[in-house]
Symmetry: C2
Subunit: 333 residues, 2 copies
């Protein structure tokens, strides 16, 4: 190969992501400079947060600049190196962007062990989603044995890990997902105690049945009506770890906020937003724990790997916002 297929962001999206906000084109294969190496990307992570990175708005990271390669976590192999710490053939993970090849100086790049798990898993349970579940549930929400943990988007990249980590902690794990197949996955693939199908109606009634002792921890990935319903069933001193609010990411104007916000007061809830980047210094602790449980057969990570390469990026990304994925969504390059 002598070219690099890249997706550059050229417009700010309005509503759902459309193909024309990207310029997807061939560029010359980049060569590593002194201290750099080239990664041949094999898989790109598709994350709900990507939609936010495209907006020109105040947030926890700078927006992707117009003209830049779209920001993305990815995995691949080093194929040419002028950096002594990364050798040809090394499997690596990092923020390589939506493209076939990336040049890196090693900053923020981790070597990953293909012997422990295949590369896509390093974008899933052993990657950002796994770390997010780990710190969100254990550090932010401080879930305790015996408590009831509810997670929305429960079969997704983060949710599936949250449910399993809740079980490992001795909690009751209740997942909210859309449709029978996803709810089946929650029980059969991830060992949740109960599944709530938000597409089946009577969300409040289903949730009540699934959480007979109320809700102590809400790991919130969705927001909107689902969050508003969960709020009314939170126990006193419950914790809400706000990890994502995907229901509003493509809204053209801000949707109404949670009308049951008063429960935060009357039930003395702690609602706390977090971003995984704030835990950078503790990643290795979490990776060690997650890897250990994986080796012991205590964790199961389901990835949904899609074909189509760089050109498929906009369409595959949208699956996240239309509930079209089954587990952690990954694009094969």
């Amino acid at each position: 190969m002598t070219t690099n297929r890249v997706a550059r962001l050229i417009k700010r999206p309005q509503g759902m992501v459309k193909r024309d906000i990207f310029d997807i084109r061939d560029e010359p294969l980049p060569e590593p400079g002194e201290g750099e190496f080239r990664v041949k990307i094999s898989h790109i992570s598709l994350d709900p947060a990507m939609r936010g990175w495209m907006n020109d708005a105040r947030s926890y990271v700078e927006p992707v600049k117009l003209g830049d390669v779209m920001r993305a976590f990815a995995v691949g192999h080093v194929e040419a190196s002028r950096n002594p710490q990364f050798k040809e053939g090394d499997a690596v993970s990092g923020r390589f962007g939506v493209q076939q090849y990336a040049i890196s100086d090693g900053k923020g790049v981790s070597r990953v062990d293909e012997g422990l798990a295949p590369l896509p898993t390093w974008l899933a349970g052993l990657g950002m989603p796994g770390l997010t579940a780990y710190f969100g549930l254990y550090e932010v929400a401080k879930a305790q044995a015996g408590e009831t943990v509810v997670v929305s988007a429960a079969s997704g990249a983060v949710g599936q890990v949250v449910g399993q980590l809740a079980k490992l902690k001795g909690c009751r794990a209740v997942g909210i997902a859309g449709g029978k197949e996803k709810c089946r996955m929650l029980i059969d693939d991830f060992g949740f105690d109960a599944a709530v199908d938000y597409k089946a109606g009577d969300l409040a009634g289903q949730l009540k049945a699934a959480c007979p002792n109320g809700i102590d921890v809400d790991f919130e990935n969705v927001g909107g009506e689902i969050f508003d319903t969960v709020l009314t069933q939170m126990n006193p001193f419950g914790r809400i770890a706000v990890c994502g609010l995907i229901s509003s990411y493509n809204a053209l104007e801000l949707p109404p906020g949670p009308k049951n916000i008063r429960c935060v007061l009357t039930m003395r809830l702690r609602m706390q937003g977090f971003i995984i980047f704030d835990f950078t210094k503790r990643y290795s602790e979490a990776i060690a724990a997650l890897s250990g449980w994986l080796k012991e057969g205590k964790l199961n990570f389901v990835t949904d790997v899609r074909e189509g390469g760089i050109d498929a990026y906009p369409d595959v990304l949208n699956l996240l916002y239309t509930s079209g994925n089954r587990g952690k969504l990954v694009l094969k390059v």
Copy 2:
């Protein structure tokens, strides 16, 4: 006196409190039994939370039962005692209800020092509102020197103390209140650094000017549009102590929630509800601190004492919900 004027709750309110939800009548003067004493109530505390206590809804305390004397904190003097711990003439504070005389067994009753401050102050800065400000600002929000603290309903019972405690801690204190007179009080009477008049328009612009370095702590008493505007100016890792949401207490249906809730995620905010009753075991610590500062002339408590006795209770209470009070609202019996 051989009768006791009492206000009994006989209907659940719809919207604003109306007179006909109370049966206000004379009852026989109650006599203390063994271990009990009678309090002649001098002043009754009017608190925003009263509106919530009237609803038949899940909350942090049981609703007032229909037929019961309306729940209220009050101060007065012991005038007949069969309890060795409380002597005739003792000045006391407790949950005595909206009535002229109360019988108590001493549970939850504190002796107060009229030498230090007049009785209404023991319902204000040295009572629940002062304790609420103390624990909310220092324990829940964990305000630190150098931070910017915003408080809504800032000239009210709790808000006025929050501003002064923020200054004592070395914070920048910014108050939000309605109208020029209240904003003048914030600066002149309580020493706030800046006042924002929510009735004067351009709330976001005023707030921005008052908080040039953003907001680290929001002590939230109001909710609604005011809270929604504050949310957009919170700094990363800011804390929101949710003390009250008075803007919604008389709503016939739940108003829209905060549409900027996404800031909780992007700015990693901690939003935490609290109720002063959860700090019961630490009241004495706070009273000692507040009394000490009062003696040193470092605190100023403004009370708004209204005449009219028990019969005036419904109308005087409504002043809280129409911004008609100037400082801590108290009903003289």
